[in-house]
Amino acid sequence: MSFAFASERLANVRQDAQRLRDGARDHDVQLEALVVAGEGGHVEAAVSRAADPNAVLVADDYGDVRELLAHVLENAGFVVRTAANGLEAFLAAYEMRPAVIVMDLSMPILDGINATRLIKAVELTRNARVIAYTGNPSFDASTTRTLFAAVLQKPATPEVVLAAVREVAAL
């Protein structure tokens, strides 16, 4: 590896790290706004609103995956929202109260397992049924049995994901 190439790689890594930190700070601000809104009655309003049985949240750090699954699910009649990392997924779940969440497990800022732990720990969001969507072939679902309603291995065709969402939504 040449010195110039190594320097460029290092600069890219630093930029990526800075983007992640900036992203995390943005999310901190959002979370704080959500919490403050909760003090003003937002939480009470959300409590009285039942989870939307047609609402699905798709969380994946790959934009192509989010867009494809959102397109397929919307065409099937679901109301879809997307999130690019675990913290964004929690914030979206808190606001949207989806019936089903398709959750990628490997994501920046907060991974899918910890995002699901947070969703299951919060009274407003704990009834959402979460489908783990993972590219890790050695993922041991038995260790997280209480968290996930189903586990899908990547790559899964959009039809397989749609069938899983319909099945879990009907539970």
């Binding site: 959500l34 919490v35 003090e39 907060l110 910890n114 732990r117 947070l118 720990a121 919060v122 009274e123």
Partner: protein
């Protein structure tokens, strides 16, 4: 198992978003 969450959010925030068990765990952890 929830260490990441306990490090990411303080007990006050967890309490306010309704994660009461995590909030209690973080209070214990902080010795509050």
């Amino acid at each position: 198992m929830e260490t990441v969450l306990l490090e990411m959010f303080d007990w006050h925030t967890l309490d306010r978003i309704g994660a009461s068990e995590l909030s209690a765990a973080n209070r214990c952890r902080a010795g509050a």
